[in-house]
Amino acid sequence: MRRLLIAVAATALLAFAGCGSSDDDGGSGADGGPVEVTFWHGQNDIMKDAYDTLVDEFNASHPDVKVDANSGGVLADEMLTKLTAGLAGGAYPDVAYVFGSDLANIARSDKVQDLTEAVRDPAWQWDDFFAGEREAATVEGRVRAVPALADNLGIIYDKRLFDAAGEPYPDADWTWDDFRATAKRLTDEDKGQFGFSWPGAGGEDTTWRLWPMLWQQGGEILSPDGRTVAFDSPEGVAALELVGEMATEDKSIFVDSDPNGERAIRLFQGGKLAMVEAGPWILPDVIDARVDYGTQRLPGFDGDHTTISGSDNWVLFDNGDERARAAQEFVQWLTARRQDLALVRALQTLPLRASTAASPQYRRLAAQIPGTDVFAAALDTARARPSLQVYPEISKNVGEAVVAVLLGRADAQEALEAAAQRSDALLAGAGAGG
């Protein structure tokens, strides 16, 4: 309790002390010097090095702007808290890295630039960003961010376990029924080996894996007018029932209650887990552990293999017109095709732009890391979760429903209906309090 008060307190103090960037130490373009742009990328190690290299390049080629790059003192997971404190105290950077699911809440602030008009400028080549990324950068019809990192979910499997079980590798047209049967055959209780895993901590990590299964059947998270939720539809129930039966009847799902989902990754590295649902971010760890892996797109319902985009964003803040414009100039440069390709090369991530993905340079790069092609191919069709302020709360409701079903504590229909009821109340503005 006191610790919590202190946390709230620290926020206040940050506000008073005005640490981090402040209005008076930069943005002095008028008197001749370059405009200073504070850039919080929230990264360390190779990600940090990659951004630092690009920033140096930008500073060298743009004498009128000077970008000051640093992590922001936190890693990306904690960026939301840090930015909230900064906004409360009126001291915030010009550009910051924000997780996709956090954008709607940061965009409550009018200090977050509205880029709707700006990106109409052909220099942005806005439509060259993949649709799922553009959707994830948009809140209530306004563009409030620029795509920073592309991600989507696919299946990564351990070839050794498939070979040992005499199981053929999955093909691109597999269905969820095929998937369930495969997972069951690859489960061996005596060896402590599971076919598949699902995060069981109940957060967004638990929830977002359900959405592709809902979308593929034609279901939606929200009703068309956005006033109620629609995930408790027959499609949603069918999806959750399938997962529940895998967990409780087939016992082919390892429920990973670790808050960070780390245990499933370790099991996969240790050859105890045949398939995981993840994005390309997991590949460096898998390669590091020398797992002979393969990738395949998500299984489908009726030939639809839609996946979910987990893209993150650059959020641009308004520290006066001059700095705001300079921030736009920098981010436009940072996300342009040439730099996009440079980041893909340095970090083995996915391209942000369709033109990058289509370029021969990218194809040559992708060939060096087996399996990324599956994720790159899905960029086109991946969908984003709704950008809603109450999304974290809806996500928690659904996450609890999924965990209840995974643990065999509830029936899929009842669990989703209960989650929907609570979520409808949130959308109607009858949430807990202020």
Binding site: R3, V8, A12, N105, S257, P392, R409, A432, G433
Partner: protein
């Protein structure tokens, strides 16, 4: 010396007779004392009281910390009364406290009594008992997540070995809170043991010797001499451990994040979730203040009881 004190030299008495200067009235006999306590006073004011006051104001607002806040009076507190999740959080906190406090104090006393004797390697045992206390809650959480993993953990392997059915532990909504009490005890016992040990060694040896000369057996010595001497320390530990239990957060954050199915959502975790995940900073502050009031009330009651007892003892 003592007898000479009241007879002060007449000259000095005459100098002290006029009303003390304003400086002395404001700053007291030893003005420099203020200089010594100033830094810590400022720190406590700045880091404790100011934020607490700010959090109270926040609890009267609808605030997400990002957009301008709106004054809503006591609405947040009213909403708390109707919020079943908050009710559950309070209940979980009370269950945890009701188990953790007596178990840690009684357990701590028992272990302290066992360790309060001259045996070989006693220093090693005492250190071992204290080690878990200095381990961070995050490390404890990770350690026990490994041991208690339902599929791969040591605990279930051990249960298998003696033919007991495997347990869900932190994954079972019916067990998770009690498992947390267990982990809390593992980490919190060491503190009680150390405090009791110190108090035990403070009991004058003459008392114990006199008792043994009078023919008191061990049980009688424990009941008539040891336990009464430990009373102040026991009360301190009860109050302290209660505060610790009511403020439980880090263990929950590191192991279960309030799950499964909300079974381990305690009040402070609830506050964290509301303020920092759902952007209801005002509402979260109100919940924090409800807990703060409970703690103040508890501390106040304890002080009042003590004052009453003392007055009765004097009378």
């Amino acid at each position: 010396m003592a007898a000479a004190a009241p007879v002060a030299p007449p000259a000095r008495r005459a100098a002290a007779a006029p009303a003390p200067s304003w400086r002395r009235r404001v700053f007291g006999e030893h003005p420099s004392a203020w200089l010594f306590i100033l830094p810590s006073t400022l720190l406590i004011l700045g880091f404790n009281f100011l934020p607490m006051a700010w959090a109270f104001l926040l609890s009267l607002q609808r605030s997400d910390l990002v957009t301008p806040a709106e004054w809503i009076g006591l609405d947040n507190y009213r909403a708390l009364l109707r919020d079943p999740t908050f009710g559950d959080a309070v209940q979980h906190t009370l269950v945890y406290t009701a188990l953790f406090v007596p178990l840690s104090v009684i357990g701590g006393l028992a272990i302290a009594l066992m360790l309060n004797r001259r045996i070989r390697f006693i220093g090693v045992y005492r250190t071992l008992v204290f080690v878990p206390f200095i381990m961070s809650a995050a490390a404890q959480g990770v350690l026990f997540s490994f041991i208690l993993d339902p599929q791969y953990g040591l605990a279930n392997a051990a249960l298998d070995g003696v033919g007991i059915a495997r347990q869900g532990f932190l994954q079972d909504p019916g067990q998770a809170l009690y498992v947390l009490v267990g982990i809390g005890l593992w980490g919190g016992l060491g503190f009680c043991v150390i405090v009791f040990l110190a108090a035990l060694q403070d009991i004058p040896r003459e008392l114990l010797e006199a008792a043994s000369i009078d023919g008191a057996r061990r049980w009688a010595t424990l009941r008539k001499i040891v336990l009464p001497s430990l009373r102040p320390v026991t009360i301190f530990l009860l109050v302290w451990q209660t505060f610790q239990a009511l403020q439980l957060f880090d263990l929950v954050y590191a192991t279960s994040r309030g799950g499964p199915l909300g079974a381990t959502t305690v009040v402070v975790y609830y506050v964290y979730e509301q303020a920092f995940q759902f952007f209801h900073a005002g509402y979260g502050s109100a919940a924090a203040y409800v807990l703060a009031l409970a703690i103040f009330a508890l501390g106040g009651t304890q002080l009042a009881v003590r004052a009453l007892r003392r007055r009765r003892a004097v009378a």
